[in-house]
């Protein structure tokens, strides 16, 4: 498998960060610190990834850097990083089959609004070892924490909605679209890190958001966001575009092509 390497935006910093006093909950960029706080950067060498005809999933490496690293904290291994690649959102319907007259058919359904079509998260270690579950939840730092907002709530009650929500999450996980890589982020030097994710074969197309969070001893100290376009390339892309935008022409061309192949088959393999 090829690996796509999104190259580094490197920053090197030797300045010490302020001593860690933060064992408490309030996070966010430290304000008015006397010594500059850490900053995190991630770099993508390319703003687009093109899916070609042999696409069967691919490894994606995102490099990043931390500015103003506190060497003490670094030596103690108390810096942790999350890198998340989130796909474009769409409204999704989850349907549940039940037996009707012996036949299994979709009976109940529950819609969800603005569901990320994919959610890949890499971290330096198990998320629950890095920070509290309320922080994980607030920042959506894991598959369990992806926000799945139900549309119109069905009359069947809350428990049922929970069941649909769990099913949606499970299906996304099974297809590799929601994935966690608990040791996917590795420090390659004091301030540089590398996040490795795997894009599944059916990764959604469109604008993905890459987010990175730096935790210092369990507390969020910096974050950053960038975007990545995933689209089809080459002939596939042209065909997809044509099917979407020039659909009538596309249909006529498909038929003309079939007529030609049919005629060709007759000429090549004359059966009578």
């Amino acid at each position: 498998m090829r690996a796509l390497v999104a190259a580094a935006a490197m920053g090197v910093a030797l300045v010490s960060a302020p001593p860690a006093d933060a064992q408490e909950e309030p996070e966010g960029p430290l304000l008015a610190a006397p010594i500059p706080p850490e900053r995190i950067e991630i770099g993508l060498s390319t703003e687009t990834i093109a899916i070609t005809s042999d696409f069967a999933g691919v490894g994606l490496t995102i490099f990043g850097a931390i500015d103003n690293v506190d060497p003490l904290i670094q030596r103690q291994g108390r810096y942790d990083v999350f890198v998340i690649l989130e796909g474009p959102s769409s409204n999704i319907v989850t349907r549940r089959k039940s037996r009707v007259l012996g036949i299994w058919m979709n009976v109940e359904s529950q819609s969800f609004l603005d569901v990320p079509q994919s959610f890949l998260v890499a971290s330096t270690r198990q998320a629950r070892d890095i920070t509290t579950s309320s922080t994980l939840d607030r920042l959506s730092l894991g598959v369990e924490e992806v926000r799945l907002r139900p549309g119109k709530v069905s009359p069947r009650g809350k428990d049922d909605v929970t069941e649909f929500t769990e099913a949606l999450r499970r299906l996304k996980e099974n297809s590799g679209l929601y994935q966690e890589f608990p040791s996917g982020v590795r420090f390659i030097s004091q301030s540089l890190f590398r996040a490795q994710l795997h894009l599944p074969a059916d990764v959604p197309l469109g604008r993905h958001t890459a987010r990175a969070y730096l935790f210092r001893a369990g507390t969020l100290s910096a974050q950053t966001t960038t975007t990545l376009d995933i689209r089809k390339a080459g002939l596939e892309y042209q065909l997809f575009q044509a099917a979407q935008n020039q659909s009538l022409l596309y249909g006529i061309a498909a038929v003309a092509f079939a007529l030609f192949i049919g005629w060709l088959g007759r000429v090549l393999f004359r059966r009578d």
Binding site: I51, T52, S53, D54, F55, A56, G57, S90, N91, I92, V93, T94, R95, R96, K97, R99, G102, I103, W104, M105, N106, S109, S111, L113, G151, F164, A167, L168, R170, L171, K172, A201, D202, L205, K232, E236, Y237, L239, F240, A243, S247, L248, Y250, G251, I252, A254, V255, F257, A258, L259, I261, G262, W263, L264, G265, R266, L268, F269, R271, D272
Partner: protein, 307 residues
């Protein structure tokens, strides 16, 4: 070797699809059917989204019907006039079918509906064919002559008004059943992704009393247009025609068809029909099985088009 399908949005094994096309082509060459009724379920078994399988199946039917109809034109066994009247109904039926198709997809019942249609039609046609060929084989063993009942007896179909003369078929019938038959097949074609030959042929023989020698040519002739129209409408309304997928299937089926035709010449007519019936029943059973067994996963997700 993996290939990415641009419309189905998935990676597939190129050899599996070529093989699938070849196998169906072999069978269609052997039995003289379009093969759409086999291609679409096979694609669905291979996890191609049913919406794409149906629309692409229609596209593939165009190619296989053209190959077939050209040889029928050469032999003069196409009733263009009858085919055109069927076509009028077919186009109307197909338009309705595509509309129903989109509606069912939005309601999340498309997969179920397509499966049920396949089970019902393949089950019925396969069962009837099987019974008929077994009777024929029994008669052949008893030494009786084999032949379909000749037209001549009049049914209610022949008492309807708006009669029209079809010279090539030596027929004088009302256009109402012809147009209705065309419409029904057109509708099925667009929902099931088939040419509809496997329903059209027996209906023309038993209902309209069309002579058997012009039935297949005429049916193929109108199927080309209905399938072509269905392909274009699916492409514009649902964007579900995958030309890469269609190309693989066509390449396989065109090559497979000639070997199938050779193999078919070595078998007797009623044996051939019994074999085809067995095959049709097998596909129906396999589809029925998925309807009735408890699925591993009760939940499915799809992008919401209605919101």
């Amino acid at each position: 070797m993996a290939l990415y399908l641009p419309i189905a949005e998935m990676s597939v094994n190129i050899f599996v699809l070529l093989g699938m096309g070849a196998a169906v082509g072999f069978l269609s060459g052997m039995f003289g059917v379009g093969g759409g009724f086999l291609i679409t379920p096979l694609l669905i078994f291979y996890n191609i989204p049913p919406a794409v399988a149906v629309a692409t199946g229609a596209n593939q039917v165009v190619a296989s019907s053209v190959s077939g109809v050209l040889s029928h034109f050469k032999r003069g066994t196409v009733d263009v006039k009858l085919g055109s009247v069927l076509l009028v109904g077919g186009i109307a039926g197909s338009s309705v079918g595509v509309w129903i198709f989109a509606l069912l997809r939005d309601l999340g019942q498309l997969d179920l509906f397509v499966s049920i249609l396949y089970v019902v039609f393949l089950g019925t046609v396969g069962g009837l064919m099987m019974a008929e060929s077994i009777r024929a084989m029994a008669r052949a063993r008893a030494g009786a002559t084999i032949g379909l009942r000749r037209p001549g007896q009049h049914m209610w179909v022949h008492k309807l008004p708006f009669k029209m003369r079809f010279k090539a078929s030596k027929l004088y019938v009302s256009v109402i059943p012809v147009v209705l038959l065309g419409a029904m097949i057109g509708m099925l074609a667009s929902i099931m992704g088939v040419g509809g030959g496997f329903i059209m042929v027996p209906a023309m023989i038993y209902l309209l009393k069309v002579p058997t020698n012009v039935v297949i040519g005429t049916s193929l002739f109108q199927i080309i247009f209905v399938a072509a129209y269905t392909t274009i409408v699916h492409a514009t309304a649902n964007q579900t025609v995958d030309v890469v997928l269609a190309m693989l299937l066509m390449a396989g089926s065109v090559a497979g068809a000639q070997y199938g035709a050779k193999a078919g010449q070595k078998l007797r007519g009623e044996q051939l029909r019994a074999l085809l019936a067995a095959l049709v029943l097998l596909v129906a059973l396999r589809l029925a099985y998925t309807l009735f067994i408890t699925p591993d996963e009760l939940y499915t997700i799809s992008t919401d088009f209605l919101l």
